[in-house]
Amino acid sequence: MSQTIKVRKGLDIQLVGEATKSLINISPQTYASKPIDFIGVFPKVLVQAGDEVKAGTPLYFDKFREQILFTSPVSGKVKEIRRGEKRVLREIIIEAGKTNEYVDFGSADPHELSREQIIGKMVQSGVWPLLRQRPFSVIANPEDDPKAIVISTFDTSPLAPDYNFIMQGTEEAFKAGICALRRITSGKIFMNVLDGKSTCDEFLDPEHVLIHRFQGPHPTGNVSTQIAKLDPINKGEVIWYLRPQEVLMIGRLFLTGKYDASKIYALTGSMVKKPAYYKTIAGACITEMVKGNLHEGKSRFISGNVLTGTRIASDGYASFYDSQITVIPEGNYFEFFGWAMPGLNKFSFYTQFFSWMSPKKKFNLDTNFHGAERAFVMTGKYEKVFPFDIYPMQLIKAIMVEDIDLMENLGIYELDAEDFALIEFIDTSKIEIQSIVRDGLELLRKETT
């Protein structure tokens, strides 16, 4: 076993509302597939409201890469095709039928299939979009042969779901998934586990994958942090990455021949009365989880974690890649001389507030902005939560002036917007850094591909 890789820089944001280790089965009425979850995808719809679909029936495809299909997670009827501003397709909502029927893609042992056959099956069934690539965090291109596939089996973000709990009893599907992945790349497969006992770790025989142990604060669980320590991405290189529950879906496709999108979500956050794990199907409506389970007050519903998640409505749908729903209070209140208070109850990365004296304390953070946007002033702080050999502020400035050469030279290929989430959180100047980085990556993607 390789030795533990220690990540020193970072920040664990201690929040109240961690999910207790109890699993509740729910089957909501409606589910959604959301094209807005996929970066750079221009959806062309294949169904109409009222159509009957099965789990695995294509709903839309990407205009730019027509082979990539997005399929329905459940069987039932297309209830609504919801569009937003400028007629952007936001959600296709499926009303679930009484029993879940699946399109049969045929079970098969990945060992006996060729690379093309495996990819064909994955693309056809709609599990292909589970595989994403770096740089740019877009859906992997079936024609690429990545230099590595990275599976981060733990999440360090605030209130993150515990994959040791989620992954219990999934050995067969996980192994089948890894086996399929093994066959579609000539590169390495990295499986990264948290130091200590890990459920996924026990599933595998280390000859098939390279297992590395990691230890450290957030963002240790991020793919970029791990790959930077193992095999940094160079210009022109591609890696693919996915999360453990996504490996399971791929595995089940080969075991059963079905697109079985069952998934466990952690419902977390200080507004939730009983935070717990919910077993349902990807894209589930969150109403059933949160109804009667919230404290009084105005809430923000987030698919994902508080740092990188997407805001959804109280009757919204979980996003494709997320395994977590977070509900926190809104912070639309004025605070008299808030900036001058001692701040015992204010979570801060800085020792400017006296809350640093109670490092174990868990905080109830709301969505208040705590100030307004300013020019860059402080220096040397971003680096403390940024475990890369990259100068973050200089890179952000290069992105702001759209200097593509400088962006490349400063290492943008190794990063994703989520890697800047902590920087955005701690930023004294309150600059919206994740969206700046996202725009920079999009600019680069359009220029280079």
Binding site: F369, H370, G380, I426
Partner: protein
């Protein structure tokens, strides 16, 4: 509090777009956000934000200057009564100094904030908190006897030409407070140096030179102050610079809160000691022979190291750059002091000089990082 909030909510529309006083929007916004942290919530990106903001950060720097300010006020009185040969009680000294220094602070803030508000208004920006610190630092580096109109002119010059022409806080190249001092130093040298300006209403018979001034004219052996007196600050000098002890208390506040870079602070002192040590080795004249550490407690060295060199906007921004930047400031400050008799206060010039070179240092640090990455790319290409 609630009443105040209601009142603000009531008058708010007047200052918003289309309101009668819309031209004062920035001013209103600045006052409102000073009183109340806004109710703004996160829209994109991270849904939660750290409680910190620039107001808090700047307020901590202002807090850190308070020991030096209070001591400075007392010392202004102490030096005055000492010079005229009068016994004075602690409160008498402080009271005298308080009334001497307070107008300088008021002039500095009123002039500077007035200009800042006007620029923010013209640009349609929010008022930036940067001047809260600058406005306090300017009085602290003025001689106590400085005419108030000079403070106003220097502050205006510093804010307009030192900062706003570059785009405001965060964009400036030179430290604004030092720009103010440098402006006076070169425009009105008689009011900024020599032995007349350091003590309020000094009688001619009393020698009022600072230790640095004495050292400059070769009277190194006759500095009438012991190192302990210089460390404690019972010496003539600019308002806030004399007491190394008070400055160090400020330094502790800045370092505990992490607002200032310990790397810069430590390396300024290291650079000063190093240059002093080299002079000790050479030892061509009496000034070169003073112990290296004495440089650190004389003149504005400590004040510059703690409050000026650490200004994050004008310092280097990379970690490695900070060591180089700080070290060279200390190094040049002592060098200028000893070599150039026209400029006893080498610290100001050393910091301004290194402000100009900070981007260059960062550039080379960044290039090293870029080269390292390119090498890796090429190595991988060869392997593949």
């Amino acid at each position: 509090m609630k009443g105040l909030r209601r009142f603000i909510d009531k008058i708010k529309p007047t200052f918003e777009k289309g309101g009668k006083l819309a031209m004062l929007h920035s001013t209103f916004e600045a006052i409102e956000s000073f009183l109340f942290v806004p109710d703004k919530v996160t829209l994109k990106g991270s849904h939660i934000r750290d409680a910190v903001d620039l107001k808090r950060t700047m307020a901590i720097v202002v807090l850190a200057t308070v020991p030096a300010l209070l001591f400075g006020m007392w010392n202004v009185g102490y030096q005055h009564f000492l010079a005229i040969g009068m016994e004075a009680a602690f409160w008498q000294n402080f009271w005298f100094g308080f009334w001497q220094v307070l107008p300088i602070i008021i002039v500095s803030y009123v002039t500077g904030l007035g200009i800042e508000f006007a620029f923010a208004q013209a640009r349609g920006h929010e008022v930036n908190e940067g001047f809260l610190v600058t406005g306090m630092l300017i009085p602290l580096i003025m001689p106590p006897d400085v005419p108030l109109w000079m403070v106003a002119v220097a502050t205006a010059f510093a804010v307009i030409f030192g900062k706003e022409v570059f785009g405001g806080t965060g964009m400036n190249i030179l430290n604004p407070a030092l720009t103010a001092r440098a402006f006076l130093f070169f425009a009105y040298p008689t009011s900024m140096s020599g032995d007349k300006v350091w003590i309020v209403d000094k009688p001619d018979a009393f020698t009022g030179a600072t230790p640095l001034g004495d050292a400059m004219v070769g009277a190194i052996d006759n500095i009438p102050y012991s190192p302990l007196e210089m460390f404690m600050g019972y010496i003539p000098g600019s308002v806030g610079e004399t007491s190394t002890l008070a400055i160090l208390i400020g330094a502790v506040i800045l370092l505990i809160t992490g607002v200032a870079s310990w790397r810069i602070m430590a390396s300024v002192f290291a650079g000063g000691l190093f240059m002093g040590w080299i002079f000790n080795l050479v030892g061509l004249n009496a000034y070169m022979d003073i112990p290296a550490w004495e440089h650190l407690i004389m003149g504005g060295f400590a004040f510059g190291a703690v409050f000026m060199a650490t200004d994050p906007v004008t310092a280097t921004q990379t970690t490695r750059g900070k060591y180089i930047y700080g070290f060279l400031i200390g190094f040049f400050a002592v060098m200028v002091r000893v070599f150039n008799p026209a400029y006893p206060e080498g610290m100001m010039l050393a910091i301004l000089f290194m402000n100009v070179f900070a981007p260059l240092i960062d550039h080379y640090v960044l290039q090293a990082n870029i080269r390292r990455r390119r090498k890796r790319w090429e190595r991988e290409k060869v392997n593949a």
